[in-house]
């Protein structure tokens, strides 16, 4: 019997501290769990509960999965206490990921905020795996303060890659920060993109996504070229439990990646 509610046992192999409240968990599931970049999984703290996350690792790696988690609620609080060797559970993958095929031949403007860079890192890995297919990748990433920037070393490494640009900003600098200060949309004003041949992908806190969409529209992106990773409280992951509705969609099965075109008719999508 295939039971979609039963998690696969996964061993926590490593915990990487990213920021004071964000950690990346490296998991080895008992059986391989291939996923498409942008799809999500439900991670179980045994005997306690589950929460949905989008893996932050490359979809090309199928025997390990990395999940970057901000401490925000009860499940994530427990996850943050977990030590290597701990047993966790994974269900999934669920939903629709990024339609990477549709990005071929295009410039890809990626806009991330805070821990929202997690799914985007998986997307970046997927793009880097076949970079010959894409014209250019521009990553605009914003964090609250320099200490809140995730994947610090990798950001530098990516900026040195061919056909790749990385722009960073913080809402609030510190003594050492020499880069841009301001919300992530201030970075969008600094990039030049070949709009007719580009797509934009955004993930971050709702307020950041809301203003990013406005700025992208202002730049000339069509609503069907703006891809968003939506967060709702997906419980079952399979379109049955009713929690994650946006308009006529369930985020778990119709998303989590949507175009703004799909969502714009609905109310309060950023609440």
């Amino acid at each position: 019997m295939s039971n979609p509610y039963s998690p696969v046992r996964a061993t926590l192999e490593d915990v990487i501290d990213e920021t004071p409240n964000i950690k990346t968990f490296v998991l080895k599931p008992e059986r391989e769990m291939p996923f498409k970049t942008g799809q999500f999984i439900e991670m179980t703290v045994p005997g306690f509960g589950e929460a949905p996350f989008t893996p932050s690792s490359s979809p090309a790696v199928t025997d390990r999965m990395e999940v970057t988690v901000m401490r925000a609620g009860t499940v994530t609080e427990l996850l943050h206490k977990a030590q290597p060797g701990a047993v966790l559970g994974l269900r999934g993958p669920f939903g629709k990921g990024y339609p990477v095929e549709e990005f071929e031949g295009k410039e890809i403007l990626i806009v991330g905020g805070g821990v929202g860079l997690a799914p985007l890192r998986s997307l970046l890995f997927a793009l880097f795996n076949e970079m010959e297919k894409f014209r250019r990748v521009i990553l605009c990433y914003g964090a609250r303060t320099p200490a809140d920037i995730v994947y610090k070393n990798q950001l530098k490494e990516w900026s040195e890659r061919e056909k790749t640009e990385v722009l960073l900003t913080v809402d609030e600098g510190d003594g050492e920060w020499k880069g841009n200060v301001g919300v992530v949309t201030t970075l969008l004003k600094q990039v030049t993109v070949d709009i007719p041949n580009a797509v934009a992908v955004a993930c971050g806190p709702p307020i950041m996504m809301k203003f990013t969409v406005l700025e992208l529209q202002h730049m000339g992106f069509g609503d069907d070229r703006i891809y968003l990773s939506m967060e709702k409280n997906m419980s079952c992951g399979i379109g049955k439990c009713g929690h994650c509705r946006i308009g006529s969609f369930y985020v778990c099965k119709d998303g989590p990646v949507f175009t703004y075109e799909q969502l714009k008719e609905f109310r309060n999508i950023w609440d």
Binding site: S6, E30, N233
Partner: protein, 342 residues
């Protein structure tokens, strides 16, 4: 296929159930304090049966989607779907129609719910015509028939001394085979059935008109035009967030997965949930797209009259009126539907 129908006397029908009781757990309607409920059929103690003239108090969904069901015992092989063979007698059109909504939710899409599926496959539905709608019924908004035309295995229509039985599925046909209580229905019995049905159809039609309601096809458009109306806040003022409307609803399907550790075992349960609870849509970190009761009340209507039509082509309400009876705040779905059209 021609309609396959028989007549069975009440005594023979009881004999039929008694014979099946060796193989099936059977639920039959019984009256208590003027209301009908489904209860276990005890062959040794039963020498009579009175069919419910209208729907029973409890929704049929609990047989397929119980309030709490263990769906996993991880990381072990500990949760097999229940495969108990059951027969339910007396389901009405409103409940049979609701099963189609639940079938869509739990059986369609990329994933099947194996727990629902197993219960569904192992349950025989012996439905029956509705005779007298109760006060809260408004099924005529959704269907002009007071009786089911499909979705059952056998259907009973009360006539003098017994029932006209209609066969609705292969399972139903097999059950009738080899039991000689099923006789050919006479023309007179069929006419009596048809007359009863016409009378009941007229009653449900009349109720819809008296309540100021309209054909369901109009509800979606009316709702979308009233999304920002003050009516939601006004009606929601009486909501005590108890979830009764959801729990008695034959189509409400929302649930939450709950994990527990018991005796060193990790168990996962599928528990009924209510979209009227404040935290229903809340995410980690506290953001909540439906903070106000008005938004949650509207959510119930959005699901039933917009989400389901768009996704399934059908309304997720059958007009059973149970939520009207159950609401301690006296929030009446009929009044809201009526107001949508004004």
């Amino acid at each position: 296929m021609a309609e396959e129908r028989y007549f069975i006397s009440l005594a023979d029908f009881l004999g039929f159930l008694k014979r099946l009781a060796t193989e099936y757990e059977i639920f039959v309607p019984s009256e208590k304090d003027g209301r009908f409920h489904l209860g276990r059929f005890v062959p040794e103690e039963t020498d009579s049966l009175r069919l419910n003239p209208c729907r029973v108090v409890e929704p049929l969904k609990a047989f397929f989607f119980p309030p709490r069901e263990k769906v996993a015992e991880y990381f072990a092989e500990g949760a097999e779907p229940e495969a108990k063979k059951r027969i339910i007698v007396g389901a009405k059109r409103c409940d049979v129609a609701a099963l189609k909504i639940l079938d869509f939710v739990f059986l369609q899409g990329d994933f099947e719910d194996p727990f629902y599926k197993s219960r569904r496959e192992n349950t025989v539905i012996i439905s029956s015509d509705c005779g007298t709608p109760v006060e809260s019924c408004f099924c005529g908004m959704f269907d002009s028939n007071s009786y089911p035309v499909n979705g059952f295995d056998l259907n009973l229509s009360e006539v003098d001394d017994g029932f006209v039985v209609e066969v609705g599925s292969e399972t139903g046909r097999k059950l009738t085979e080899g039991f000689d209580g099923f006789k050919e229905a006479t023309q007179q019995q069929l006419e009596q059935r048809d007359n009863n049905r016409k009378e009941a159809d007229a009653q449900i039609r009349e109720k819809v008109g008296a309540a100021g309601l309209y054909p369901a096809e109009k509800a979606q458009g009316y709702l979308l035009a009233k999304m920002e109306d003050a009516m939601w806040a006004r009606h929601a003022e009486n909501c005590v967030e108890c979830g009764a409307c959801n729990f008695v609803c034959p189509t409400c399907h929302c649930f939450l997965l709950i994990d527990l550790e018991e005796a060193g075992k990790f168990k996962r349960f599928k528990d009924w949930d209510s979209c009227q609870y404040p935290a229903f849509a809340r995410v980690a970190g506290g953001a909540n797209p439906r903070k106000r009761r008005a938004e949650r009340l509207r959510n119930r209507f959005e699901k039933k009259f917009d989400f389901f039509p768009r996704n399934m082509g059908s309304y997720a309400c059958t007009g059973c009126g149970r939520c009207v009876d159950a609401c301690p705040g006296k929030i009446d779905i009929r009044e809201l539907l009526k107001e949508l059209a004004t």
